[in-house]
């Protein structure tokens, strides 16, 4: 439930890879949006923080194997974006963040899962190196939680606006018949 409308949200998930994790290891974390039936979440951008060696954080992003991770975002039963994308390139950007061209839409009772996979630092995607240290990948989804907006036209039967219901279709068909239309 939103405390204000709209309400800014930043959902952070933490994916911990143990020392010696093999390429292909993936860790899935779930985000709880706590939204009600009349609310929707829109995710506008994603930022990443790779803590390369949780025991002594240093050298973040300094090696290929240190930041060779991909992410998939699962909304409900679908992946949005459709495919996995690279997280390492985000950590090397000045903003440590990418903004989506259009927001990811999360409706009521649609779970959000963030799946982070260690790729092993091999561009051919064959067997690469295991992680040399325990690493935590923190993914932040920058979003807003808002009441769902419904377009209405007062007194109109096509509610929500632009989406005719079955009754309106029937009235249109009868009207056309009487008036000799198509």
């Amino acid at each position: 439930m939103a405390n204000q409308n709209p309400q800014p949200e930043i959902y952070t998930t933490r994916h911990e890879f143990a020392n010696g994790a093999t390429p292909g290891t993936s860790i899935t974390e779930t985000v709880f949006t706590n939204q009600s039936s009349s609310e929707e979440v829109r995710i506008y951008s994603i930022s990443v923080n790779i803590i390369n060696n949780t025991a002594n954080e240093a050298g973040t992003g300094s090696s290929i194997t240190g930041n060779d991770y991909t992410a998939q975002i699962k909304i409900g039963n679908n992946f949005v974006p459709s495919y996995a994308f690279d997280l390492g390139v985000i950590t090397t950007m000045n903003q440590v963040m990418i903004t989506f061209p259009t927001p990811i839409l999360v409706l009521f009772q649609q779970p959000i899962s963030v799946i982070v996979t260690y790729k092993g630092g091999n561009s051919s995607r064959q067997a690469g190196a295991n992680t040399g240290v325990a690493t935590a990948v923190k993914v932040s989804l920058h979003a807003e939680l808002a009441l769902t907006q419904v377009a209405c036209q007062e007194g109109s039967m096509d509610w929500p606006s632009g989406q005719k219901n079955a009754r309106q279709d029937m009235i249109d068909a009868i009207s056309n018949k009487i008036m000799g239309g198509a």
Partner: protein, 137 residues
């Protein structure tokens, strides 16, 4: 009380982090707003400094940040402060503003998730960048 309408505000609060203990620190920000005024937070800035006052976000950034406006957390969950500190600007803009009404206490909490192997103390500075304005009715 605002001296102009709207009035830009940068509320800054500092946390001294003891690297030997994982825990949380909470600071309260006094907005000094009138009953007919509201404060809106548009962006959050984070600095992580070592004992010499030098940026150490590259080597120690495992902090989570929580903002409480009134009795509620807005955003509703703790979020990563390290990514904000590693950002070149050290600032992240929110998708929409946090609204703080009259008599709503504004609190900032920093959770230390892991310790640092490098001796501290560290200072985490959080800036809430926004504006105070008279509510239009």
């Amino acid at each position: 009380m605002v001296n102009q309408n709207p009035q830009p505000e940068v509320f800054e609060t500092n946390f001294t982090i003891d690297v030997s203990a994982v825990g949380s620190n909470t600071n309260t920000i006094y907005t000094h707003q009138g009953h007919n005024e509201q404060f809106m937070v548009y962006a959050i800035g984070v600095d992580i400094l070592n004992a010499n006052g030098i940026d150490s976000s590259g080597t120690y950034s495992d902090f989570d940040l929580t903002i409480n406006a009134g009795s509620n957390s807005v955003p509703s969950n703790p979020f990563d402060a390290g990514a904000i500190a590693k950002n070149t600007d050290g600032i992240v803009a929110l998708t929409c503003p946090i609204v703080v009404q009259f008599k709503q206490p504004l609190q900032v909490r920093i959770d230390t998730i892991t310790n640092s192997a490098v001796a501290g103390p560290y200072t985490v500075t959080v800036r809430l960048i926004g504006e105070t304005s008279i509510i239009n009715t």
